[in-house]
């Protein structure tokens, strides 16, 4: 074996040297980055003149031109003849095949999907989305539930729970318009307010506090407009003949998950008819249905999802750019989960055990389960654990968010993109967790907005 001199901040691996005589072929895993090396022979640092060299801060060093293929560096070194001290050939070809650099989110062991395949796929999807309109999203016979803004917030909480829906448009009968959406985030903020000392909202007031009063207070407290409460402006909505592409862009740019589809036969928008609630999962379902049987048009559909640059992945060693994925244990308090949902701006959090194996997921829409038996009135958020909160929703008979009888959608990194997309096309599933086979350790998360941002190159 021979040692390699450390010549950059990346590589600090020094392997033991056996001076003179017996040299053995070795193979070791080089955990750090870096691609320059030098030989330490009989007490002095030497470089191999026959291999590519560059001048660096350590004198002349050998260097390797590496291909960007893998994430983990496997150094495969072999020696041609034992005992020969001058004849230390680095098997450059072998080395080049296996030694690589970490590159963003691409994981080890698989080649990246080609740029050409990505471009063809984006082109086809874009064309499809431009040609088809929101009308295709409407089911043959659909149901949509709306709430009057003068309803007390508490009752709307119960209605959403009983009907098994996470979000409802708000109707202002005085103005004759739809003015916003009531979403799980509203309930999370209300529950947190209830617990704050000196808050303006008491239990009794919750009985009479109307949705409109809450929305106004929210705008004043949190400063920012949540994008959907526009009592004096036009609501972000879709019309039935807008193209799917416009709707997807609207959803992504406003950072919202659902948009009401409203039709008005008059030009000033009066007498609006509510038709549907459009979301990215509905659009994805149309895409999957159209392209599922002709993957020739969309070559990336059959590629393993780890070879495509999308999603958030657990950072690998030596990768300084990734931020860690937010995860929680089941015994963490519910208030920490709610804080994370609000502050990190995510729609769901993976719940893992001590080995980082995935157990379940807590989403924003799970907050309506607290309406069951009025649990929220007699439980403090920081005393309730996530595990208990999930138990509340266990026997809910609504199939919202379920697929295959599972709440938590998991895939392997080798699963084709089409499979991940089909999972995400179910209403209520906003994120798919990529887990390691067997141990169920979370490796990555792919969300609906990740897929659309990738397909639309946003």
């Amino acid at each position: 074996m021979f040692s390699h001199g450390a010549d950059s901040a990346h590589d600090a691996g020094a392997v033991g040297v056996s001076s003179g005589g017996a040299t053995v072929p070795t193979r070791f895993v080089w955990p750090y980055g870096g691609k320059r090396y030098k030989f330490f022979v009989d007490g002095e640092w030497r470089h191999d003149e026959r291999q590519p060299t560059i001048s660096g801060e350590f004198g002349i060093v050998n260097t390797l031109y590496l291909t960007r293929e893998f994430n983990q560096i496997n150094a495969l070194l072999s020696l041609s003849s034992p005992g020969s001290r001058m004849n230390m050939d680095v098997d450059n070809e072998n080395f080049q095949r296996t030694v690589t650099l970490s590159d963003g989110t691409v994981s080890e062991g698989t080649p990246r999907v080609s740029e050409a395949a990505i471009q063809i796929s984006r082109c086809c999807v874009s064309e499809y989305l431009n040609l088809h309109t929101c009308y295709d999203l409407l089911p043959d016979s659909g149901k949509v539930i709306a709430l009057d803004i003068n309803l007390p917030v508490k009752q709307s909480f119960h209605i959403l729970h009983e009907q098994g829906i996470p979000v409802a448009p708000l109707w202002d009968s005085f103005r004759g318009q739809f003015v916003g959406l009531l979403s799980p985030l509203d309930f999370i903020l209300i529950l947190r307010e209830l617990e704050t000392h000196g808050s303006n909202l008491t239990e009794e007031q919750l009985e009479t506090h109307t949705i409109s009063a809450w929305k106004e207070a929210k705008r004043q407290t949190y400063g920012r407009n949540d994008g959907q409460w526009r009592p004096h402006q036009h609501l972000v909505h879709a019309t039935p003949y807008e193209s799917l592409k416009d709707i997807a862009v609207k959803l992504l740019q406003n950072g919202i998950s659902t948009v009401p589809v409203i039709y008005s036969s008059s030009s000033d928008g009066s007498f609006p008819q509510l038709l549907h609630l459009a979301s990215l999962s509905g659009i994805l379902k149309c895409i999957c249905r159209y392209f599922k049987n002709s993957t020739g048009n969309l070559p990336i559909l059959n590629q393993p999802v780890c070879s495509i640059p999308l999603g958030s992945w657990v950072p690998k060693i030596g990768d300084p750019n990734s931020r860690p994925l937010a995860m929680l244990r089941p015994n963490a308090s519910l208030s920490s989960a709610l804080n994370m949902l609000v502050q990190a701006g995510v729609s769901s959090i993976p719940i893992v055990d001590e080995n980082d194996a995935l157990l379940d997921t807590y989403s924003r829409s799970d907050i309506t389960a607290l309406a069951k038996d009025k649990v929220y009135t007699h439980v403090r958020l920081d005393e309730m654990t996530i595990h208990q909160a999930l138990q509340l929703g266990q026997d809910a008979n609504t199939p919202f968010g379920f697929f295959n009888g599972q709440r938590c959608q998991m895939c392997l990194r080798s699963d084709p993109l089409l499979k991940v997309m089909e999972r995400l096309a179910n209403p209520g599933v906003r994120r798919v967790f990529i887990v390691e086979a067997g141990s169920k350790r979370v490796e990555g998360i792919i969300s609906l907005s990740d897929i659309f941002k990738f397909l639309l190159s946003l």
């Binding site: 089911p139 659909g142 709430l147 009752q155 002709s294 919202f400 295959n404």
Partner: protein, 224 residues
């Protein structure tokens, strides 16, 4: 409970048609459980431009096999039973690959033209052909009826036609799909009074938008 009948495309009438349907109705089970079992739906393909030997090949089996089409009069047709989705297919007429230009078609990445078959588990309503959607003419009678007075409201209202008890609002539905409502329940306003001490009502209405049906439920507080 009433379930609307799904219209099925007309089948071949000839009595001596070979049982080609038996081959088509094979149902390959996937090894892993990957969602609810797909319901197979019949879809009809028709070729109208003549020829002697007409086959069809498509993406349902990844273009592996060619299926012979049945001749009826001057046209050829084939009934396929497939899970819901959009499929691509092509005709092979006397050895030559052809597409029907007046059917939906697209050009794939390699420049080949294919026709599209959209297999749905419902048949989209053909708006023009439904007689109930035509507005009836005004009846021929005098319009001298008196407006109802207080005492009229004290009487019992007329009995509700039993068909109005059916409909989307009274049945249990999943998020995904409701049963297609009968036309008779359209444009009637239903009300559900508040339960317990809650002063609220639920108003429900099923109406038609183009060839699709939308049921809207609005929860409103009652003004005291």
């Amino acid at each position: 409970m009433f379930v609307p009948q799904t219209p099925v495309p007309p089948l071949q009438r000839a009595a001596d048609v070979t049982p080609v349907f038996n081959q088509i109705l094979m149902n390959e089970q996937e090894e892993e459980y990957d969602g609810p079992p797909q319901k197979e739906i019949p879809g009809l393909i028709v070729w109208t431009l003549g020829g002697n030997n007409v086959y069809v090949e498509g993406s349902w089996d990844n273009w592996k096999s060619r299926k012979a089409m049945q001749k009826s009069g001057k046209d050829y047709s084939l009934l396929l039973v497939l899970p819901s989705g959009v499929y691509r297919y092509r005709f092979v007429v006397d050895g030559e690959r052809r597409c029907l230009p007046d059917l939906p078609c697209e050009t794939d990445a390699m420049g080949n033209a294919v026709n599209l078959l959209d297999v749905n588990d419902f048949v989209p309503e053909s708006v023009e052909s439904v007689a109930e959607f035509e507005a009836p003419p005004s009846p021929d009678s005098s319009y001298s009826f008196q407006a109802p007075e207080e005492k009229d409201f004290a009487k019992e209202p007329p009995a509700l036609p039993s068909q109005l008890h059916l409909g989307v609002l009274n049945s249990q539905n999943s998020e995904e799909s409701c049963a297609r409502p009968q036309h008779i329940v359209l444009n009637h306003l239903f009300i559900e009074k508040g339960w317990g001490a809650h002063p609220l009502v639920a108003l429900g209405l099923t109406h038609r938008f183009e060839s699709k049906y939308v049921t809207v439920v609005l929860y409103k507080p009652i003004e005291r």
